[in-house]
Amino acid sequence: MTEFIQQVINGLSLGSIYALIALGYTMVYGILRLINFAHGEVFMVGAYAGYYAASAFGIDAYERGGRAFPLVLAVAVLLLAMAAAAALGTTIELLAYRPVRKAPRLTPLITAIGVSLFLQNAGMLVFGPNPRRYPPILKEVPFEIGGVIVTNIKVTIFVVALALMTALRFFVLGTWTGRAMRAVSIHPDAARLMGIDVDRTIRACFAIGSALAAAGGILFGLDQIMINPLMGVLTGLKAFVAAVLGGIGSIPGAVLGGVLIGLAEQLTAGYLSPDYRDAITFVILILVLMLKPEGLLGVVKQEKV
């Protein structure tokens, strides 16, 4: 039983990282009907932005001196990485997707794959191809509750992800920009007629989705210790499957899908074999596409009369 709880805790923390990334896929899909394949690379760049920000704040000196990195600086690292990713995401939208927005749907999709490959290679060029150890923005402190070992990092990942997702919920439901996003995703022309600037709304969507991915990147770095320029490929795909599982275009769906994929991966690794931990995601993808292609919380798009 304790082992099961252990796996569930690890799965929840991993799943909340997938959920943060899945939100970006689902938000962009909801508004543009585009699978933003470069989103995994935004996640990767976010992780590196956090890495460099922590270095700039002198994390090496703290580590050498055996002192903990101040929490204020850790939060600053998170915010800086989120801002950097938002800038990258909106730049991708402006330079790569906006020019092909009115083209047939295959064109933006291929463009997205191109941007993804470009950023993977740019990452290897700029950051170097070798994996790097992620700086200890948060010092790991394990503690035990009833035989289950939990670390402050796992808890932090869960709490930070939950806080960001709650903030997103309030933003989407309670602010005018959030309403504009929903309006554009339901009916872009009607949204224009309300006086909504659709270009600006799409930009906001990319900014927010990318910032969430960067937060995911930092949490991933904290959790997995190593980062590399290709880390966005597999993790991005898994988060994409999470979005599909939850119902692409649905924000609660992305959260649910992320958590389920994280749990499935962890439980598979724990009870079946660690060799299957990556495979299970794609087994789930195939099952979803066969049995419930609209996803758990997705709606079947009804044709307009």
């Binding site: 309403r179 504009a180 929903r182 009607a190 949204a191 224009r192 007629l193 309300m194 600037d197």
Partner: protein, 242 residues
């Protein structure tokens, strides 16, 4: 300041590779109710869409309250005080009626004004008041039409473009919708009405333009056109000899 709310000159609009509007000119004075009638495919909807910038014209000029709209994006045109109630209503189906109405005030979100307008809309369409929390997609066609009109009013427009408000509605509802259109006009809002129901349109409007395959075939006061034998034969279904 121009007396005209809307001034269109030699407008040409292509839609999906077909020239739907072939050089029409029309004026709508401030406070007027003008109707644009004609058969399906005559270019009525394309004209309205190009006024609000959803379909850019090939050539010609559109002036809104004297301002040339060439190259102005839709959200800016809307900000200048025009609202389009689109054909097919285009309500935000998965949002509540209240959210739909509030989105109508996207550019005029100051709370006191917004609530005053919401109250006025509910007075105009009491059925919407009963359904504020309901999802817009679950409303009947007539209620969705009311919602689309009310949503347009929530932006406090000076000019409302109505595209086929009677389409697909039961006669009783149509009468009710047209009564509210007259009431809206009484409050000083200029109205350009596109309608296939010629009889109703000519009873409601002060002036009319008749479009035939993208061109203005006839124009004049609604009263005159009601008596015009060509209109009676072609659109009112009457035998000219009778």
């Amino acid at each position: 300041m121009s007396d005209l709310a809307l001034e269109i000159r030699d407008l040409r609009v292509a839609y999906g590779g077909i020239v739907a509007v072939k050089g029409i000119s029309l004026d709508v004075g401030r406070g007027e109710i003008v109707t644009l009638i004609g058969a399906n495919g005559a270019g009525k909807t394309s004209t309205l869409k190009s006024i609000v910038g959803l379909v850019p014209p090939i050539s010609g000029t559109i002036r809104l309250f004297g301002r040339d709209l060439r190259g102005v994006p839709t959200h800016r045109i809307v900000a200048d005080g025009v609202a389009l109630v689109p054909e097919g209503r285009a309500v935000f189906s998965s949002m509540s009626v209240r959210e739909n109405l509030e989105l109508g005030s996207f550019l005029k979100r100051e709370k006191a004004g917004r609530e005053a307008r919401l109250e006025r809309c509910v007075r105009l369409f009491p059925r919407l008041g009963e359904r504020l929390a309901q999802e817009a997609g679950t409303l009947s066609g007539g209620e969705q039409q009311m919602l689309a009109i009310a949503r347009a009013l929530m932006g406090d427009p000076k000019l409302i473009l109505l595209d086929e408000p009677s389409l697909g509605l039961a006669p009783k509802l149509v009468a009710q919708i047209f009564e509210s259109i007259l009431e809206i006009a009484k409050s000083g809002i200029t109205i350009l009405l596109v309608e296939q129901n010629t009889r109703l349109a000519l009873e409601t409007a002060e002036r009319a333009y008749v479009l035939v395959t993208g061109e203005v075939a006839l124009q004049g006061s609604a009263a005159e056109l009601r008596e015009d034998p060509r209109i009676r034969a072609a659109y009112l279904g009457e035998d000219p000899a009778a």
